[in-house]
Symmetry: C2
């Protein structure tokens, strides 16, 4: 009798399908995870037989794991891997329902023996979730976990994470962990770990190499450089964005160069030296966050009442995703633009009532400059703050964090919003042709 | 006495600044437009003298213009240039307050004589506005103008347009002009026409070459290929996006290759032959549009009440900018995700009340696939429609247009939303490494 997690061959009238048997959600069909990583539902009526090719191996003995964790080499640095779920752990998520077994040090040593030559690896399961389900409260828990590990002697922390909201978590940890003098590297995968094409292992190996061999301190993301090769980029946590839904090289540094490339052989090629260096500072946890903050996208036909609704519902902060250099429709020109004055008035009124409104650009790349055209100047006069070269997502996390930490001081929030705190605002936007 | 529009040298105590004198908004300072295109305000108290270097030339005689327009070569195709304003016309916007003078055929012949060897150029001012102020009503007017020109014998239409919302207009015209068998090319500039580095001329010349030498019919955008060189890309109107706030090569084709490259010498290099060919069809105007449509961005901490507010305010369509493959937080896992069920319920309830909800991805590049993870399947079960490989902006314009044309038939709207009408949905997402 095949069990969920077994590798099976499903024999139908017209075809045979091989894959992993998934826990069934539906009595009428059988769900198979294909080698491609995708799932397929097969009508039970069509199935002649299900053959078990390879039964699911039970999780290894826990005591052996613990023993492994205790075998530390005092000459090597300690690295903690915090697991949160996501595609990087999806094999185990489907097959056994547990992430820990997959990423037990023993299994990892078996699969990536090289990382154990570089560091003492400790593994801990914090969450087991897809990252689209993450809430600001999960950022807070992660920030506390990182602090704990660093205070207990970790020279670096790796966080395995779903890629959907990895950039938001990277931003949140950047702001919540003040004075951080150790590297904290988020690692995801675009192909689940049970696929031959999985990027999970390479990304983790590169992250370990970077932690051990670089002097970088702070929060960063380690993902594939390009889909076609095997080296990784290290992206600053406040300057990284997922810009493809499925490619292995979905993450790109925005408005800065990546910090470094880590080659397949584990060599570090520095690309951008603008970062804090490792040290022995005591990390300061500032994990408060305001949840009444929203992102609003400007577009032709944008309805000004959206802003009004947010103000009336008690929102404390609004990130505008403006057009171009940071614009919205505020000029009254003809009968079709007669509502534009109401948008400008609504924005001004919202700000006058204490809501902090920050302008970013929906172009993602490039910076806001509200001094070039009268549109930008009018918005600034109404009190809209420039997000400079912060991405909308970074501005959103920063504003939520500032409003959490200075709940009754909107002047302080506005002042810090335009000040560079963690590398999120750069004086000059750097890029190379190939980076966008 | 220097007048607005004059080229001046402002002599201060410590420095001398050269540029165009701008109309003054402020009695205490003088505004100068620098050669870089940016404006600088100079305190009047610091100014010792303002010298006129070159007085503003008055607009040329109108009758000469008209005469020029009448001199047509019957062997050449007729091209109409419709002007709408924006940076491409910003020299004149600042100096004389008028766009038409700048783009009179005479002035254009003086500046770009090559285009008059390729076509009979007719020039018409439709709007004089920055594109951030454009509303769906302006799309309607433009669509009607294009139809008129095509029906009066234009072999192609060029629309000069601000770059902020050019992609929205390109999408709108693509849908509004059914059966279009002539090329309609939108052209903008990232540097105003009075700057040495302006891309305005090159973009127009490339557009004329493309219209004359290619067999493409439909709506496209012609902008610089890369910031460093002088050739242009032609991007399909439903597959183009501004992804940089200031670079000359701000526009990129998303999920498809550009249609063609047009070299400095006017040579056409086809890159993507997936388009409609020129013909003699009668264009059908379908310019209705529904304005109660909004774009909502999903993110950690997203408040489900936003969706609820939109439904209560009578919105007919919602574009979700989901994470990754098209996700939102719908899984209840712990105390922090206990509201997720309410988000899913709210989405389902909104759809049950007749609102059309479409999922796109905030990664911009890549396609939505709601079959891979349970998150996507749950959203589909609630009635969310997949936007496939449409960008959020394209899905937004398409949905607004479908709701305008089929106001009482949401099943038809849903059916057409997932059907390829103008090349906005492709079966397979194509890209080359260098294109993102």
């Amino acid at each position: 009798m095949p069990k969920a997690g077994d590798k099976v061959r499903v024999i139908c009238k017209d075809e045979e399908i091989e894959g992993i048997l998934m826990p069934s959600e539906n009595a009428d069909s059988v769900m198979i995870k294909l080698g491609s990583g995708y799932n397929i539902g097969i009508d039970r009526k069509k199935i002649k037989e299900i053959k078990v090719i390879e039964a699911l191996k039970e999780a290894k003995d826990r005591s052996a794991e613990k023993k492994k964790q205790a075998q530390q080499n005092p000459k090597l640095p300690n690295i903690t891997i915090l697991h949160t779920g996501g595609t990087i752990a999806s094999k185990v998520d489907y097959r056994t329902g547990g992430v820990s077994a997959k990423f037990s040090p023993e299994e990892m040593e078996e699969k990536f023996p090289e990382i154990f030559k570089l560091a003492n690896i400790k593994s801990k399961l914090v969450f087991q979730m897809f990252s689209e389900d993450m809430e600001p409260e999960h950022w807070q828990i992660l920030a506390r976990e990182v602090k704990k590990e660093v205070e207990h002697g970790a020279e670096g922390v790796i966080i395995t994470h779903g890629t959907d909201t990895m950039q938001y978590t990277a931003n949140a940890l950047s702001f919540m962990l003040e004075n951080l003098s150790k590297p904290v590297i988020l690692v995801g995968a675009q192909r689940s770990s049970d696929r031959g094409s999985s990027d999970a292992g390479r990304n983790i190996i590169c992250a370990v190499n970077f932690i051990v061999k670089s002097d970088f301190a702070g929060v960063a993301v380690c993902m594939h450089k390009r889909s076609g090769d095997d080296s990784c980029y290290i992206h600053k946590g406040v300057k990284v964005r997922k810009i493809h839904s499925s490619r292995r090289d979905a993450f790109r540094s925005v408005n800065v160069l990546p910090l470094a490339e880590v080659t397949k052989e584990g060599r570090i090629i520095p690309l951008n030296k603008d970062y804090e260096k490792k040290g022995k500072n005591d990390v300061v946890l500032k994990d408060k966050i305001e949840k009444k903050v929203e992102i609003v996208k400007i577009h032709p036909g944008f309805n000004y009442e959206i802003i009004k609704m947010l103000e009336e519902k008690g929102y404390k902060g609004i990130i505008l995703e403006g057009t171009g250099l940071g614009h919205a429709q505020v000029n009254v020109l003809d009968e079709y633009t007669k509502n534009h004055e109401r948008l400008l008035d609504t924005i001004k009124n919202t700000i006058d009532k204490g809501v902090v409104v920050v302008m970013t650009t929906q172009t993602i790349f490039g910076r806001v400059n509200m001094n070039v055209y009268s549109t930008g100047r009018d918005l600034q006069k109404a009190g809209v703050i420039s997000g400079e070269d912060m991405m909308p997502e970074t501005a959103f996390v920063k504003l939520s964090w500032l409003l959490g930490n200075y709940p009754n001081d909107s002047n302080k929030v506005k002042e810090l919003m335009t000040k560079n705190l963690r590398g999120e605002i750069t004086e000059r936007t750097e890029y190379e042709e190939e980076f966008i």
